[in-house]
Structure formats: structure tokens, C-alpha cells
């Protein structure tokens, strides 16, 4: 009975422990990797990289949970969690980042909120600059009228 695993094809893509994939793994549903993937992993929902998994390539998803090894960038729109057994070598980009004690991360991380705030700050600064330039013009105009 235990030898026959229950297959649920509606839950998305699953890569077994002893499987090695080469190419782009893409699904609109969840992707769970227990084996090795050499290439991109792209999902419209969640990606779970289990303890036995090795991914050599970028990952893109709404939420990514890492318990295995990843060499490549991770772009998680909502949330990225690196579990104690997780090892990531590459850049991270997400809104919410959780790195558990014992996890390993080597690379650059960009917080999307921080990036948005920085962009907003730049926009505001440039806006202020423009308005002060406008004020200067008006002063100049006033001065000219006075002359």
C-alpha cells in the first residue's frame, strides 16, 4: 500500500529525488523540486526547493521556500524564505525576506519595498528641485518687472 504513492496532478509540478532536469521548468501551478534542475524554474504561484534539491539557475515565483541548494538568482514577488538547511548563492529580490538560523546566503539582496521607497525619494527630490527652479524663474520674472 505504501509502495504506491498518491498522485495528485492538480497540485502542479513535482521533480522527484532521483531526477535530473535540464531546461526551463515552467508551470502556472506550484512547483516542488526534490531533485536536480539545471535551468530556470518559473511558477505563477509557489516554488518549494526541498532539502535534497539542487537548482543551478534562476527562480521566479510569487513565493519561494528554500531548504536545498541554489546557485542562481531568486525573484519572489511576495515572500522568500530560506530554511536552516537552505544554501543560496546568488542575488535575491523580494518584498518579504526570512532567513532562518543556520541558513547560508551569499549574494546581494534587494528588498522591493526599499527599492520602491528609494525610487519615491528620488522622484520627490527631483520634484522639489523642479519646483525650486520654478520659484527661481518667478523671482527672476519679478525682478525683471521691477526693473
Amino acid at each position: 500500500m505504501l509502495r504506491q504513492p498518491i498522485l495528485n496532478t492538480d497540485s502542479g509540478t513535482v521533480v522527484g529525488t532521483n531526477v535530473k532536469l535540464t531546461g526551463t521548468l515552467r508551470d502556472t501551478q506550484d512547483i516542488t523540486v526534490h531533485g536536480q534542475v539545471d535551468g530556470e524554474v518559473i511558477s505563477d504561484k509557489n516554488v518549494m526547493i526541498s532539502e535534497s534539491a539542487v537548482v543551478n539557475g534562476p527562480i521566479q515565483a510569487q513565493a519561494v521556500t528554500v531548504a536545498g541548494k541554489i546557485k542562481g538568482s531568486i525573484q519572489a514577488v511576495e515572500k522568500l524564505e530560506i530554511l536552516p538547511s537552505g544554501k543560496v548563492h546568488g542575488s535575491l529580490e523580494t518584498k518579504e525576506l526570512i532567513i532562518r538560523s543556520g541558513a547560508s546566503f551569499n549574494g546581494k539582496s534587494i528588498m522591493q519595498n526599499a527599492q520602491e521607497e528609494k525610487d519615491k525619494e528620488i522622484r520627490e527630490t527631483s520634484g522639489k528641485k523642479k519646483s525650486s527652479e520654478k520659484n527661481l524663474d518667478l523671482t527672476a520674472l519679478d525682478y525683471e518687472v521691477e526693473e
Binding site: 505504501l2 509502495r3 495528485n8 522527484g16 529525488t17 532521483n18 531526477v19 535530473k20 532536469l21 526534490h34
Partner: protein, 245 residues
């Protein structure tokens, strides 16, 4: 106008089921001509006749293997006509009944009467077609090379199933990597996790290579590797009990 193709009766149990079905069809007012394949008149010939006589609905009645056989022959006989295909599956816990959303004979007859249509694409292996699944089981795992829509993979496997839906979904695993049932029970009792080794992938075109011509089976299909499994380009209109799909 309905045209029924009944599976040849091999068992008395089937004769009784056929009688019950005929009564149900009569009650619902959808009785019509009935044909049964036999050595003198095979399935292709029956479908050819049905096509020439312009029946609007052909209904296959029997077990899943027979229904798969009718669907494949139907696709090969008249690929461009507007005939609708209906099914009355006798395996009520089988894949076809589940796919159609039918739980009993009454519902199957009701579905025919309501005539709600669904467009589907059959799975195709070489020149044969399948409605639900094809697969293989090996006593010893063998090394396979698979290509799913360009995604390459190499693995040893003992079980492989390809299920047809909007896409082809391929599931495979290696029985040697799963624990023995007794050990599995031991693991379960002590809360130890069993390492999963089931792979589930999906795509429209699956190429399978194996070292020695292994046979993939399903319904009436028997195809030796290397082979390609794909979704058919031409849609079929089939009758379903929509509320349950």
C-alpha cells in the same frame, strides 16, 4: 439521432447490465439503433456506416478499454464531421466515468439526454488515440530519457503514467527508491518522513526513449519506445454531465 455501439457481451453480468440500460434509454425516450462489433463487422465498419447515415450522436457502451477503442476509431474514421461522441461507462469507478462526472447508469443516460458538450483533444501515440491514460509498469527499473516540451531529463523509473486533460500530465517513479511496505509502516508509526520520489510534469509533447523497446499500454494502445505522445490537433465534441466536472 443516436446510434449505440455496445461492447460484445462476454459475461452474463454484462447481459443484465445491457438489459437494464435499454430499459433506462427507453424510459428517457432516447432509444435508437444498436450495433455490436463482431468478426464479420468490425468497429471501423460500424463507424463508417454511422457516418454515412449521418447520425448526430454516437454512443459507446462498455468498459473503459472498449470506450477508448471507440474514441480512437471514431477519430480515425471521421476526423472532420460534426458527429458528437457519448459514453456509457460500465466501470463506474473507472477513469472515464470520473472524467465524465458520471456516478451511475441513470446519470449516464441523463447526460446523454441533456446533451451537454465539451470539447476535448485526445492523446495521440503514433496513429493511435487515447481518451484517458496510458502507462507502463516494469518489474525492474530502467533508464529513461524524456523530453517534455523541450525540457530534458534522464532517470531510472519503474512506473510511468501519462494522463490526458487540457495538457498531458506525466507521472513516474522508481519503486526501488520507495520503502518496503513493512518498513513504510514502521516509518509511519514512528513519524519518520518517507522520501518522495514521484515526479509530476506536464506538457503538450512528450518524447520517451528507453534502452530496449519498452511497451507503453493504455486501452487498445501498445507502442514500443522510442515514441512520442502528444495532444491531438483536432477537437472532439463529447457529452458530459457538466455539473460534476
Amino acid at each position: 439521432m443516436y446510434y449505440y455501439i455496445f461492447e460484445p457481451e462476454k459475461k452474463f453480468r454484462r447481459t443484465l447490465a445491457n438489459r437494464q440500460l435499454r430499459r433506462l434509454l427507453f424510459r428517457e425516450g432516447i432509444t435508437a439503433e444498436i450495433a455490436t462489433p463482431n468478426p464479420a463487422r468490425d468497429l471501423a465498419e460500424i463507424l463508417e456506416t454511422a457516418s454515412q447515415r449521418k447520425f448526430s450522436t454516437i454512443v459507446a457502451v462498455g468498459e473503459d478499454a472498449f470506450l477508448n477503442k471507440v474514441a480512437s476509431a471514431f477519430r480515425q474514421t471521421e476526423p472532420i464531421n460534426r458527429t458528437v461522441l457519448g459514453f456509457i461507462p460500465y466501470e463506474l469507478k473507472g477513469e472515464i466515468a470520473s472524467f465524465l462526472g458520471i456516478a451511475n447508469l441513470n446519470e449516464a443516460v441523463l447526460a446523454l439526454k441533456r446533451r451537454r458538450l465539451k470539447k476535448i483533444y485526445l492523446g495521440k501515440i503514433n496513429q493511435n488515440y487515447f481518451l484517458t491514460t496510458v502507462g507502463l509498469t516494469l518489474s525492474k527499473p530502467a533508464l529513461f530519457q524524456l523530453n517534455i516540451d523541450g525540457l530534458e531529463l534522464k532517470t531510472a523509473l519503474s512506473h510511468l503514467t501519462i494522463k490526458r486533460s487540457d495538457k498531458l500530465s506525466i507521472n513516474f517513479w522508481n519503486k526501488n527508491t520507495l520503502p518496503h511496505p513493512v518498513l513504510g509502516l514502521f516509518y509511519w508509526l514512528f513519524g519518520k518522513k518517507i522520501k518522495p520520489d514521484v515526479t509530476v510534469l506536464s506538457g503538450r509533447l512528450i518524447k520517451i526513449k528507453a534502452p530496449s523497446g519498452i511497451t507503453l499500454e493504455g486501452g487498445e494502445i501498445e507502442a514500443k519506445t522510442p515514441l512520442s505522445v502528444e495532444l491531438d490537433n483536432f477537437p472532439l465534441q463529447i457529452i458530459v454531465l457538466r455539473s460534476k466536472i
